[in-house]
Structure formats: C-alpha cells, structure tokens
Symmetry: C2
Subunit: 220 residues, 2 copies
C-alpha cells in the first residue's frame, strides 16, 4: 500500500511523533467514524458541516440534497478539507499540564466531484446503506427514479491526507510520579444500544444486529 504523501499542508508540525503515514489507518478512521466534518469557504467565511461518509477503495463519499449551497461550494470553490475524529479516551495525568487525549484523526484535502451516472448513484447508495446496516439493502425498498434524482452524491480522493494517533497513558514529569493521585487512561467508545422498533415494524421480526458496523453493543 502506498504511503500517504507529505506536502506542506499535510506535514504534521505539532506532535510529529503522533503522525502516522499509514493508508490502512486512514481507511480505518473514516470507516469507523461514519461521520466526517466537511470544511469549505464561501467569500472568506469558513463552514464546517457534519456529514455521514462512506469509503470505497481510495475515495470517500458523502451525499446531500440537490441544489444545496454546500454541494456547489464543494465542487466549484476552493480546496475543501474533510476530517474524521475518533475519541478513544482521556489521559489522566498527575499534573494539570500533562493531561491529554487518546484519539485517531484523519484530515483530507482536495475537491469533491459529483457522481453523475444513475447506475453509479444506485450502486453508491447500496454501499452507503451496507456500511451503516450490513445486509439491509436487499430487504428494503430500493430507491425510485425520483428518489435517485433528488440525491446528489459527491466523492473525494483520499490522496493528500494526514493521520494523527495517540494511544497509551500519560507522560509524567519525573518530579510528579510519586504524587498520590490516580493516573492512567479513561477509555471512551461509541457504542450501539437499544433497537427501538416504530409502529410499523412487524411484531414477529427480530431487531437486526448492526453493531459490528458501529462498534460493540452496550449491555441493557
């Protein structure tokens, strides 16, 4: 797998030991995050919008309604930035200063392009739903022609990108290690819980289990 390129934008200046030039990690972050924060600018004003995302090979996909100002800005404006962040834990040190965060984050620069072909849109939506709820596409009503036409799908290449990762416990100053305060890591995870059926869900139909696509389930 090719290493991620290092340009002036993607070179990590702060905390370079946390920079990981690893395409597999880049993919994992977007795959697990499900939500990306998409940044663009219009007339010197920055915007950051949360979007569901899904990845196919070396491209990241988002979707939106036709004609939104965002779609226009993402395809016609300056370079965009797409960031996904997984918060893995808080690092609890014996000093206020050395508290930190365990996380994985991915930042991608570039410009989005529109998926224009109907069949390709349909296939993209299938991969999108399968990423959220594996096995569900074949059970639900597929999109009608009108529904396909109402949807815009954009994708961006995962080429100019940077990844940062921090793991483990605190880095204490030597003078602090004997302080009598609990120190270590508080683990944080996104988890799947209750499946709440609505009034039209068949009574004899067991709730599906999509937790593998979203992280573990929590006990109920």
């Amino acid at each position: 797998m090719k290493e991620l390129g290092s340009t002036d934008k993607t070179r990590i200046r702060r905390g370079p030991k946390r920079a990981v030039f690893d395409r597999a990690m880049l993919y994992q972050i977007f795959d697990q995050a499900h939500v990306a924060h998409v940044g663009f600018a219009v007339d010197e004003q920055s915007y950051v919008i949360p979007m569901l995302c899904w990845r196919v090979d070396n491209r990241l996909y988002i979707h939106g309604s036709n004609g939104s100002r965002m779609i226009k800005a993402l395809t016609e404006g300056g370079q965009c930035c797409v960031t996904a962040t997984l918060l893995d834990g808080m690092v609890l040190s014996k000093s206020a200063f050395h508290h930190s965060t365990n996380y994985r984050s991915a930042v991608v620069f570039g410009r989005f392009s529109k998926v224009t072909d109907d069949a390709e849109i349909n296939e993209s939506l299938k991969l999108f739903l399968e990423h959220i709820a594996p096995g569900r596409w074949d059970k639900v009503r597929p999109p009608s022609e009108n529904e396909l036409r109402a949807t815009t799908i954009l994708s961006i290449e995962l080429e100019e990108a940077s990844v940062k990762v921090r793991t483990g416990g605190p880095n204490e100053d030597k003078e602090d290690i004997d302080l009598p305060v609990w120190s270590g890591e508080m683990v944080i995870r996104q988890k799947v819980g209750q499946m709440i059926p609505d009034q039209y869900s068949p009574e004899n139909e067991a709730a599906p289990d999509y937790s593998a696509a979203w992280g573990d389930r929590w006990e109920q």
Copy 2:
C-alpha cells in the same frame, strides 16, 4: 435566555423543521461533545481540526501550543466556523431513501480571541480540567509558570450560531408501511468504559468516576 440570531449564514435552508433556535440546546451540544471541529481558511485552502472544547457562559474555549499556524489563522484570518456533533442514532426505514440519522449539531461563526492574562489562563485551564474530570483540579499538580506560558487559550462568542436536531423513528412513505422489514431507531451513544491505571498510579487509590461528565458507563 435570548434566542439565537438568524442571519443569512445561520438560517437553516435544508430541513428547516430540524432547526432549533434554542440557546440551552446549543450549550448542551458543546458541553456534551467535548470535541469541536474548528474550520478556518488560509490562502483559499480550508482546514478542519478537531479540538477539545469547553464552554463558560456564552463563550467556547479551546487551547493549543503557542505559535501554531492555527492559532494565527483563528485570531487574524477570516471568519472561523466551529462545529460540534452528537450522533444519537441511526434511523432504519423500510425504504433505502428514508434512512436517516438522529443527531444534535451546533455550528458557530466568528473569530477567536486570545486569553492573555496569566490568572485568567490558569482559571480557564481549571474549568477545562473540571469539565473533563470534575473534582480533579484540586488533586493534581497545578500548572507551573512555564507551563502556563507554553499554552495558548482562545475563546469565541456563541452568538452567530445555528443548531439542528433530529429525533425519533423513520418517516415512511404510506406505500411502504406494510413491508415486512424491521424499522425503527438504532441508538448510538458515546460511553465511558475501563479506567486503566498506569505504572505510577497508587495501588490503594480507587479509579475516579468521571462518567457523569462523559455519558454513562458501559458494563464491563
């Protein structure tokens, strides 16, 4: 409490029924998210960087190392955008098209200003740590003068802002309601799990419980 202003930037054009002009909800989103995605532009290139955040009254705070290009861009460049998103669940419909997401998101526009006074920086860091780990500030070593000087704290007013919220199950087309497929909501939450002590944590010191500041604990 004053309602959030509606300007051309903050008016919600897509899905206006999901727009909530409620300052209490704005505060709740930033308080619970702990992580904000900060957007700014340098030379027509957008950047989106994840930052820990904490709120005091009507201002949102972030911190960073002195002299980073980000600090400069946030205080001297064009208008920034700060977005926090809480993913509350996935909405599973009987049609591919009507799948949706339950979430709360807050978007704030403006410019950051630097906290310059040493005492104010110290007080801000205290509120930051108390937001992450309530009761911890009085137990850990406070910041030294050098540590205070190495830290830049920025804040932005929560004035030009918009909030979007979606809750509940799917909105089905009438023709789809009898399809024999499970439909409803898959609840997703950020949860706190293991407390992993490091080698310097005192053996007789029980792990603190900061879950109230981060959402429930999951069973272990």
